[in-house]
Amino acid sequence: MKVGVLALQGAFREHRETLDALGVEAHELRSPAGLAALDALILPGGESTTIGKLLVTSGLLEPVRERIDDGLPVLGTCAGVILLATHLLDGRHDQPTLDALDVTVRRNGYGTQLQSFEARLDVAGLTGAPFPGVFIRAPVLERAGPGVEVLAEHDGHPVLVRRGPVWGSTFHPELAGDLRVHERFLHQADRQ
């Protein structure tokens, strides 16, 4: 299995290290070359407005959208879930979206960095201790559309969701030092 990590900007290194720890082959994706060979894709945290622009200038936006439409398993974390969302609040008017996950997401929904936080999360299907949730200027999912499965909540809002092969989290599993969310996503992706 070969998993791409969108490596235009942000915390792509931590995702790659998580994949390394799981023994999964990782590919840093910066151009459309290499996209066809991927079995799954991770969209990392970072600055969503910047990543959005770089998706356009690097010629990746349409090819990535097409592959996701064709069923490529994808996990978007923080800025990544903003890119996947069908509805965006408090974004920039020119922010592109991959339109792949029927949720309404509010950028920086908790406030500034002073409101960034850690919290323990109960994730459906994960056994053992609660998952360490790291929320950095995180978005808030204000609505999850029909068919979107909520796998974890915090303070009344979904923080980990999936619809088919498309997964989104508002927190950063790649910063948690805990492999279970990646493991679960890859397990599902492998069965596709």
């Binding site: 910047t50 920086n108 002073l114 850690e118």
Partner: protein, 298 residues
């Protein structure tokens, strides 16, 4: 760390360093007005640094350089959705408190402003807001991390448009880290003494082969190739101060530097984005400077 009613812990080392990790591969741009902040965000800046004057003007005008007027910071926060940083003077923890109260996302305890304390830096552990500090060598970087800095930027020589000092400082920090990775136990103790840095931090760097916090580069970046140079040397993101808004065409140059920072190892893209940018900032020869800002900090 205490939790609130929703089970949240704020201001932890992980969330402070976490924001720096989210800025990796990006460009943080100095801005002095809301209009410049919008141009920076339009160009793809991952964050902006709110200032009253860019370093080139601080250097030219002289006098005491202080924290920005809160009104300037308010206007810039209002204008953009990306993180907003602001600078306090070295050791001026009250300016740090004001910036935290204004809700900035990162405080830069910066040698570009006139130092307020000639012996002590701010105790950055005491804050919820994360701090970035400058460093010219590994010892300085580790002392700042020991004080609670959640990001280090190599200092370079701000306001000169001359990359030579940034390269010197980055090579100094990264070269010293490489030496530590092959040091044995007695050599680590000796290194801690030489570096004037805590021995546990020295041991951590020796084990990891990198700083425990992200290392960015600042001071002298004026072109896309400058950004690519420091990224290839090992910087994880870049700060661009005077290099953008002291150039002939800031919007175009800012976009080009953003693309160069992402595609820093792809010469074909670097060549493409380096075309048609207009005049860069003029730049200064280091030997002609009256004040070397990088020498501030202890």
């Amino acid at each position: 760390m205490t939790e609130d009613r929703a089970g949240r812990s704020v201001g932890t080392a992980r969330v402070k360093r976490g924001l720096a990790e989210m800025l990796r591969g990006g460009v943080i741009m100095d801005v002095v007005t809301a209009e410049q902040a919008r141009i920076a965000e339009d160009a793809g800046a991952v964050a902006v640094m709110a200032l009253e004057r860019v370093p080139a003007d601080i250097r030219r005008d002289g006098g005491v350089a202080r924290m920005s007027d809160p009104g300037v910071i308010d206007a810039i926060q209002e204008a953009v959705t990306v993180p907003v940083m602001a600078k306090c003077r070295i050791g001026h923890f009250a300016e740090g408190q004001v910036l935290e109260a204004l809700g900035v996302d990162y405080v830069d305890e910066s040698e570009v402003l006139t130092p307020a304390d000639e012996a002590h830096h701010v105790d950055k552990w005491a804050f919820t807001v994360p701090f970035v500090c400058g460093a010219t060598n590994l010892g300085e970087a580790l002392r700042r991390i020991a004080e609670g800095a959640a990001m280090i930027r190599s200092k370079g020589e701000a306001g000169t448009g001359n990359i030579v000092e940034a390269v010197r400082h980055l090579r100094s920090i990264l070269g010293a880290i490489r030496q530590l990775t092959v040091a044995d136990e007695p050599e680590r103790f000796a290194a801690a003494k030489e570096l004037r840095a805590p021995v546990d931090l020295v041991a951590e760097v020796a084990e990891r082969g990198e700083l425990p916090v992200p290392l960015f580069c600042a001071g002298g970046i004026a072109t896309p190739a400058d950004a690519a140079l420091v990224m290839q040397l090992g910087a994880q993101a870049v700060f661009v101060g005077s290099g953008i808004f002291k150039s002939a065409d800031p919007a175009t140059r800012a976009k080009a530097i953003v693309e160069a920072t992402t595609h820093y190892a792809d010469p074909a893209i670097l060549a493409k984005v380096s075309r048609g940018l207009g005049e860069p900032m003029r730049g200064e020869e280091i030997a002609t400077l009256d004040v070397k800002l990088a020498e501030r900090g202890w």
